[in-house]
């Protein structure tokens, strides 16, 4: 039984391998402490952290697949977590809700095709309502400014 089934790395595409190889050039002496920065860099290149991608990474850095998946799936901004990678992460924090975040959710639902999800407090409570659009926080959002930002990214 052992050794007959594919390993996760065998699911990696050539693009997956190229991305991992490129990122690891920036981390010539990999140690465990660099795992999170490496995962962040790989995701930035590929937009996700698929099974094959993580599998190949594990081979390159000689870490167990279950272990690396355990780390990657913990962090909400990483693609392996329960939080999907979406274009708009709308802040669900209470100050943002008080400032009208739920109306913005309606706007996103009805007037855009952007992928979006709720996300916990972004720390922009003095400039509510706010959202992470890609990697950048946008704040003091109104229906029109949100639509502008989202359209700008489509």
């Amino acid at each position: 039984m052992v050794g007959e089934a594919p390993t996760p790395a065998e699911f990696a595409t050539p693009q997956d391998r190229a991305a991992v190889d490129a990122v690891l050039l920036d981390f010539p002496r990999f140690e465990r402490t660099l795992l999170l920065p490496v995962l962040q860099a790989v995701q930035a290149q590929r937009g996700g952290l698929s099974k094959g991608l993580l599998g190949y990474l594990c081979e390159r850095v000689r870490m167990p697949f279950a272990e690396v998946y355990g780390v990657a799936s913990f962090y909400a901004l990483l693609a392996a977590s329960d939080h999907p990678v979406v274009e708009v992460r709308l802040c669900s924090g209470v100050p943002c809700i008080l400032a009208g975040a739920e109306q913005l959710a309606e706007t996103l639902r009805q007037q855009t095709s952007a992928s979006w999800n709720w996300f916990p407090c972004l720390g922009q409570c003095d400039r509510a309502p706010a959202a992470l659009v890609g990697d950048e926080p946008r704040y003091h959002l109104t229906t029109s400014s949100l639509l502008q930002v989202v359209d700008g990214c489509q």
Partner: protein, 279 residues
């Protein structure tokens, strides 16, 4: 190195222990039982179940007896209202979220502490499909998993160094995973079953036992249990063999075995079919 004993007070009783022992040891020395779920005498304590918590004078929060090192002068209460309340609620929280039908210790503690998990009503439970068919030797039913981490420890640095499983996700969604829920054959699992050996709830169970239980044919009252030595290799691990209807149905190793500490390999733990074949 000094041999000086440390003096701690447990429920008013003076106890002398050597340096570097845990409160759990000190409490046991006072003749008091402490409920534990995630504690294993052979593995490093992870103190995640919180059922062993005790009151320590000077500490705002209750402290886990399994991992807290005894220091001279400590005053510990193991049965105060605060301790009983915390233990009861921990047991209720567990009982309300997972299937405890094959978790004898958890059920026994729940009776001791008058835990009533049904008081929460119809609430979110750990829902996981039973993983029975990706291999022939053991079954993973994470609907029974209390996240005690013992399987991860046994597969990892505390016994096997195989690292086939880990904790994944976060919060209530945290669960044991091979990584993207890969079937066991895609993982480094070597089917030693040491994870099964340490699991306190039957979330990990040998296939033979699982099949028999499903058929209502698992009958402890008719079983014999005998200690013997594994026939396979020169290590000579101690085996504890459970037989029913003149067939081997389960193999373990005594957890207090001085050499193996309860850990076996795939041959010793699962290689008993040949014994059951009769001409």
């Amino acid at each position: 190195m000094t041999d000086a004993l440390i003096s701690v007070t447990v429920d008013g009783q003076d106890v002398r222990v050597g340096p570097g022992v845990t409160l759990l040891t000190a409490i046991a020395q006072a003749g008091i039982n402490t409920p534990t779920l995630c504690y294993d005498p052979v593995m490093r304590p992870v103190n995640v179940c919180r059922v062993c918590v005790v009151e320590l004078q000077g500490s705002r929060a209750l402290v886990p007896a399994c991992s807290r090192i005894a220091e001279n002068g400590m005053q510990v209460l193991t049965d105060s209202p605060r301790v009983r309340q915390a233990r009861r609620v921990v047991l209720e929280l567990l009982g309300s979220s997972v299937d405890t039908s094959t978790a004898p210790d958890l059920r026994r503690f729940s009776v001791d502490y008058e835990a009533h998990p049904e008081r929460f009503g119809d609430v979110q439970r750990v829902e996981q499909p039973v993983r029975a068919d990706d291999n022939e030797l053991y079954v993973r039913d994470y609907g029974k998993c209390i996240l005690c981490y013992k399987c991860v420890q046994a597969c990892g640095e505390e016994a096997q160094f195989t690292f086939a499983i880990g904790v994944a996700g976060r919060g209530f969604e945290a669960h044991i995973d091979t990584g993207y829920d890969a079937p066991l054959p895609e993982s480094p699992c070597v089917y030693c079953g040491n994870c099964v050996a340490v699991c306190p709830t039957g979330a990990l169970m040998g296939r033979k036992e699982w099949d028999l239980r499903n058929e209502n044919a698992w009958k402890p009252e008719e079983q014999t249990i005998e200690d013997t030595i594994c026939p396979y290799c020169g290590v000579g691990c101690g085996l504890r063999v459970t037989a029913q209807d003149e067939r081997v149905v389960k193999v373990e190793s005594p957890r207090d075995h001085p050499v193996t500490r309860g850990f076996l390999c795939v041959k010793g733990r699962f290689g008993y079919d040949f014994v059951n074949r009769r001409p």
